[in-house]
Amino acid sequence: MGERKGMEIALAAAEAVALCKPDVIAAYPITPNTHIPEHLSDIVAEGRLDAEFICVESEHSALSACMGASGAGARAFTATSSQGLLYMAEVMPIASSMRLPIVMALGNRSLSGPLSIWNDHSDIMSQRDTGWISLFAANGQEVIDMMIQAFKIAEDRNVMLPINVNLDGFQLTHVVEVMDFPLQEEVDDFLPIYQPYASLHPDHPCSMGALGLPEIYAEATKAREAAMVNSKETILKVWDEWERHFGRRYDPVQSYKIEGAEIAMLTMGSMSDTAEVAIDALRAQGVPIGLLKLMLWRPFPYDELKKAVKGVKSLIVKDRCVSFGGPGGPVASEIRSALYNEPRRPDITNYIFGLGGRDVAVEDFIKMIDKVRFADKRTPKEHYEFYGVRGE
């Protein structure tokens, strides 16, 4: 059962991808995901993986090449971050409209400008509505596991959608952790060879990427939305199967010490692990607080969220992104809308913080929680707040 070793998480992600035996890899370097394709190219060079590694000239071409490869029936992988993802933006929705199960590792990084190579979630949030399934990993183990799960989910006949696995830049990509690596036989057993529904071959010609008149566009879009919504069933199935195979449990909304909690904090990505330490400290003082960790961002897990916040009076939502001139952070806005029709919904506070790689310590979480705990109920509260901005 697996092999336990320490490794930089980006390299571990590459090892996990290699275990999935992709046929084509196309990627263009951008910090902080770079070590993933670099290490994959090493693996290919060593002959450990039989794949075509295409050193494309841009991210636009990286995703385009993956689309060509996937269209031809190959298992395709790419990785990027930040501006690289934006450079792919034109092709992102086309990949999902063509139902090509491409897998992408997204080493999350803030968007320029000012130029910043460090982490936040503004890259993925800018591509939120392009029809890709989005998973968020909180630590190295989850990165490995989700990378492998991603291929299985994307390629399921009931799904056939591209998928990105989000891992925070530096906080995860460049950190060394001890992780369990599944064995090749175990992955082979879990993940069969990709069987495309249709592929570009003269023995069975097909046309992909046709022009759609107004009579068809809405129907095509609705079909894609249905595929996206229905994919949750497959995701849950794959996660159950993962637990049976590898013993580790995944849930769309993972809860930590939520029993009897009146206050809950909701996080995504690597800050979840830091947040757990803050929750432990407060629980030790007798504060009824728990943590909800969102692992599945698209399709959004409405039912699971509603269930998870039952009994919670106050919900603190953390965003590492801002929707300029809008509702605050995209995660909080999503959660507010998800809970709007609930008869007993928690009071929601939204903090935007940790932008552009700003460190987030355990004390910061405690401060933010305390602010909510001891808030003067009579003063109307802002619907979102930037935390930790100097000069305020």
Binding site: G68, P202, L211
Partner: protein, 318 residues
């Protein structure tokens, strides 16, 4: 080989891979050229199509004019998608997951999708050496969005973004020489072609198909709609482009330039070509002279290359 041209009509595939029923304008040189290209390529081909007229007229869901496997992704990336198709087929073939036989990836785009927005992806694909044929169907403007200028638009032409006016003569720039840029990529085969010379084009496509590696064909494709010329003059217009030296037909095989269609001893004046086209109607005699001079110069430069270039094999054999 001299007889090949004589017999070639018998050898052309009867099969229509780009079928009638597409929605191109009457007398569209591009649609004709695509049809010829497909015949020359035959069954074992995957077509990767950039956004543009040919994609729009051929793939209106739920219909398709394509009997070959065909994919369209976006405007700038046919060459990149083609790289992926080629790599995908290669990997699957190697792993025994598809039949072990050659299937050629052929990317195509208009002049806009090739010379302008798609040049980065094209350059990348050629430089990486994929077994990929790229064919540019050059109708000298962005026709699909309504005749805007591209970097392939000739000097003086009127377009919707380079219109002639009180202080404007229409398009002020010279056609970008993409075949030459492709030659500079050191790829084994580059050629120009035209819809009005079917056998020449078919020969070139077949040659390019046989090459294991990247190749590029630049096909002038008459667009009656954008050129403001009568539909029935499509073939004639292409011939005049060649006979005036505006668009000579040549190929560059391993670095060696050859003219593939015999040229008149003295070129016809470009007026013979441009007078039939509404897009040049506004040009003054002085502007026509500038156009003529430049055409002569470019033609001489080409003749010079034909006379003096040697193939890489010849050079390295010394």
């Amino acid at each position: 080989m001299g007889n090949f041209d004589l017999y070639a009509p018998k050898l052309v595939d009867r099969e229509e891979y780009f079928s009638p029923g597409h929605r191109a304008c009457q007398g569209c040189g591009e649609a004709l050229a695509v049809r010829l290209m497909c015949k020359a390529l035959g069954k074992d081909t995957v077509i990767i199509n950039a956004t543009g007229c040919m994609e729009v007229v051929s793939s209106l869901y739920p219909t398709t004019a394509w009997k070959l496997p065909w994919i369209h992704v976006a405007f700038p990336n046919a060459a990149a998608v083609g790289s992926g198709v080629e790599a995908g087929l290669k990997a699957l073939r190697r792993k025994g997951r598809i039949p072990d036989r050659d299937v050629k990836a052929v990317a195509m785009g208009g002049d806009g999708g090739t010379l302008d927005i798609g040049i980065q992806a094209l350059s990348g694909a050629m430089e990486r050496g994929h077994d990929l044929l790229y064919v540019c169907f050059d109708n000298e403007a962005y026709m699909n969005t309504g005749i805007q200028r591209s970097s392939a638009t000739p000097f003086g032409a009127s377009t919707t973004t380079a219109p002639p006016g009180a202080v404007s003569m229409g398009n002020k720039t010279w056609k970008k020489n993409l075949p030459e840029i492709m030659v500079a990529h050191n790829i084994p085969y580059v050629a120009t072609a035209c819809n009005s010379y079917p056998l020449d084009f078919i020969n070139k496509v077949q040659k390019a198909k046989a090459i294991k590696g990247p190749s590029y064909i630049h096909c002038l494709s008459v667009c009656p709609t954008g050129w403001r010329s009568p539909s029935e003059t499509c073939i004639k217009m292409g011939r005049l482009a060649v006979e005036t030296g505006v668009f000579p037909l040549y190929e560059v095989e391993n670095g060696k330039y050859n003219m593939t269609v015999s040229m008149p001893e003295t070129l016809r004046p470009i007026e013979d070509y441009i007078k039939h086209q509404g897009r040049f109607r506004h040009l003054s005699p002085e502007q026509i002279r500038i156009f003529q001079d430049r055409t002569n110069l470019e033609y001489k430069k080409l003749l010079d290359k034909i006379e003096h270039s040697r193939s890489w094999d010849e050079i390295s054999a010394e």
